[in-house]
Subunit: 344 residues, 2 copies
DNA sequence: ATCCTCGCCGGGAGCGCTCCCACAGCGTGC
DNA sequence: GCACGCTGTGGGAGCGCTCCCGGCGAGGAT
C-alpha cells in the first residue's frame, strides 16, 4: 500500500518514546512556545533517535497548506526554452523556496493539457499558491487563477490585472536607456528588433525604443522596426530584413536576437560597431563572450524569482492582509564593445 | 485555515448529489469496473455539475502515493545552468509526467541545504519516486536514496550502482564515432577538451576519444588532452592551452566547450576547419548556428527524460516486480562544416 | 429448495497530522 | 477565601480520501 515508507515512525511513536502526547510533539515540531523546556528537549531527542520526519502530506491535509508552490510556465513560452531566461528564473525561484522550506512544483503548460492542468493546479489542493511566468497579454490562465482566488504572483507585469501582485524588470526604462545611449553616441538610424508584441515585455521594450527616439526629437521610421520572436534565428532573419534600410545601430529586445543580428551583420560584411552598433537585452552569459562583446541591458532574473517567492509567501501568510504589490526592478546598461563609443 | 478552498465540494457532497455512497463515487473516480453503468453516469454528472476535483493531498495520505515525482539536480551541476541540457531535460520529464497525470517537483540541491533536502525528499512522503540527474561519480545522494529504498531512476549511468535503473546516452560510442570521423578525414593530431573527469559522462566521452585513437592504431598524446568544465569559457581556456601543441582537430565533450574553442581559434588566427577541425557534443541549437556550423554528436535529451519517467513509473507500478533496467540510447554524428571533409 | 458465485453497493476504519477545547496546577490580587 | 489569570499538557474531532469487509439480490449449479 504505502510504497516507500517501511514503517517510518509517526507522531505517536515519537510521543510514546518521549512519554508525552502527540499534541506535545506536534507543538514541538511547530515551535509552539507553550512547551516546557525540559519536555521540548525530551521530544527532540526522541525525534532524533527515531529519525522522525513529519509527513508532509498528512500535515497538508490537516492544516490546509502544503508548503508547496506551483510554478507555471505556459505553453508557447516553454518552446523558448533555449533562452537561459527560464532556467535562471527556475533556479532563482527554487533556491528562494528551499531556503524558506517550501518546495516548488513545475508545470510547463502544454497546449492540449492546459485546461486540465489549470484545474489540477487550482483544485488539487497540492499547492498553496502559484507563480506564473506568462508574458502573454491575453493568457487565459491568469483570469482562471483570479476567479478561483488562488494566491498568485506574476513574473512580468500585466496591464489587465492590477489586483495581482507582480514582479518585473522595468523593461521600458531599460530599452529607453539603451536607445538613448546609441543616440548619444551619434547614431541616427537606430533600428529595433522587437519581441512578439503580444508579450508584455516585448511591447514594453518596443515602447521604450520609441520613447527614447521621441525624447531626442526623432520620429520612428516604421521600416526600422521589425518584430521577431526572442530567438537567435529570429534575430538573424530580422536583421536581414533591416539591412536594406541601412541602420547604423540596432537595439534587439533580447540578447539571443542580438546575437542573431551580429551573425547576420557579419554575413552581410558589415562591421560591428563601426558600421552598425548593437545592443541587446538580458545580459546573458553569452553576451560578454560574443564577438564583439555585446552591450546589453542587464536584468537580474534571479532577483525576480526571489521577489516573486517573497511576495507570494507574504500573501499566504494571511496574518496581515496586504493589497497587491508591484515590484519593478531597474535594469542597468552594461556597455561593451558592440555599441561603439568608449566603453570606459 | 484552509487557505484557498472556498468550500470546494468533496466526495460526500458528490455522493449526496448522486444519491450514492462515497465509496461508489471513489470507485467511479478510480475507474473501478464494479460500478453499474447507470450509477456511473449519475455520479459523473454530479461530479461535473458540482465541478468536483479530487483532493490530491487527501488521496495521497489515504493511498500512500501522491502521483508526484521528484526531480533532483544536485548542486554543482545546477551552476551549469547556462547549458541548455537541463532545461531540455526538465522539459522532457515534465511533459512526460503531465501526459501520465503525474506532477513533477523540482529540487535544485544546494550545497548547504543538500542534507536537509535529501531528508525531505525521502521522508516527507510528498513524492512517490525520484529522478536524479547527477553525473557526479561520488554523489552521496544516490547512496542515500538506495539506502532508503526510495524508487528512483538516474539520468546518466552510474558504475557503482547497477541496482538502480538508469537512462543514458552512449557517450563512449558517440565520442568514439566523432574522433574516428576526424581520423578518417586525415587529421593526425586530434586533441580533446574533456568535461570534468569526476562526471561519468565526462569520463566516458574521454574514454571514447582514447578508444578511437587506439582503434586507428594511434597512441594518445597527453598534451592533447585538456580537462575542462563543460562551459563556453572553459572551452576557450582549454583551447588556448592546446594551441601551442598544434592540434589539427579538436573533439570537445560539449557544444558549449566547442563554441568556446571556436572562439579561441578565431582569436588565434586559425581557420576552422582548414587549420583545425572541431566537433562538439550534444547538438544544441547554437551548434547549427555557429560560424562555421558545428559538427556535433546529437543526443536526444527529451528522450532521456521520457524514458526516465517511464522507467520510474513501471517501478512504482508494483504489479510486476522488475529488476533494474539500463536504457542506453545511441547518439548520432551530425556532420556540418566545422570538421571539414565533405558534409554530404 | 439449498448452496455458492458474482455484480454492485454501503459503511467502518484509518492514513498522520493539526486544531480546538478542556483541564490541572500554580500564582496573584482583592 | 474565591475569582481570575497563565503555563503546560492531553485527547477528541476531523481534514478528504482509500481500502477492506460485509451485505444484498440475482442467477446458475447441485
Amino acid at each position: 500500500m504505502t510504497l516507500q515508507t517501511h514503517n517510518r515512525p509517526n507522531l505517536v511513536a515519537v510521543a510514546k518514546a518521549a512519554g508525552v502526547s502527540r499534541s506535545t510533539v506536534s507543538r514541538v515540531i511547530n515551535d509552539d512556545p507553550n512547551v516546557n523546556a525540559a519536555t521540548r528537549e525530551r521530544v527532540w531527542s526522541a525525534i532524533h533517535t527515531l529519525d522522525y520526519q513529519p509527513n508532509r502530506v498528512a500535515r497538508g491535509l490537516a492544516s490546509g497548506r502544503t508548503q508547496v508552490l506551483g510554478l507555471v510556465i505556459p505553453q508557447g513560452v516553454a518552446t523558448l526554452f533555449s533562452d537561459p531566461y527560464f532556467a535562471i528564473l527556475i533556479q532563482g525561484i527554487s533556491t528562494a523556496c528551499s531556503r524558506l522550506d517550501y518546495s516548488v512544483m513545475l508545470w510547463l503548460a502544454e497546449p492540449d493539457h492546459e485546461r486540465r492542468t489549470i484545474h489540477q493546479v487550482l483544485h488539487g489542493g497540492l499547492i498553496d499558491g502559484v507563480i506564473v511566468s506568462s508574458m502573454l497579454a491575453d493568457d487565459p490562465i491568469i483570469a482562471a487563477l483570479v476567479e478561483r482566488r488562488m494566491p498568485c504572483v506574476l513574473v512580468g507585469r500585466h496591464p489587465d490585472h492590477p489586483e495581482i501582485s507582480t514582479v518585473d524588470t522595468d523593461n521600458l526604462s531599460g530599452a529607453r536607456a539603451a536607445v538613448t545611449h546609441l543616440l548619444r553616441l551619434g547614431r541616427r538610424r537606430v533600428a529595433t528588433i522587437t519581441g512578439p508584441q503580444n508579450m508584455i515585455a516585448g511591447a514594453d521594450r518596443c515602447a521604450g525604443y520609441s520613447l527614447a527616439l521621441r525624447d531626442a526629437g526623432f520620429s520612428a521610421d516604421p521600416a526600422l522596426i521589425v518584430e521577431s520572436d526572442f530567438t537567435e534565428a529570429g534575430g538573424y532573419r530580422a536583421m536581414q530584413q533591416l539591412l536594406p534600410h541601412h541602420p547604423d545601430a540596432v537595439f534587439a529586445a533580447s540578447d539571443l536576437m542580438a546575437l542573431g543580428a551580429l551573425r547576420a551583420l557579419q554575413h552581410g560584411g558589415l562591421r560591428v560597431p563601426e558600421d552598425v552598433a548593437v545592443i541587446g537585452f538580458d545580459d546573458i552569459a553569452a553576451a560578454a563572450l560574443a564577438d564583439p562583446p555585446l552591450t546589453s541591458v542587464r536584468q537580474s532574473i534571479q532577483q525576480l524569482g526571489h521577489s516573486a517567492v517573497e511576495l507570494l509567501l507574504t500573501q499566504l501568510d494571511g496574518s496581515r492582509i496586504t493589497g497587491p504589490e508591484h515590484r519593478v526592478f531597474p535594469p542597468t546598461l552594461v556597455v561593451r564593445r558592440s555599441c561603439g563609443g568608449d566603453p570606459a
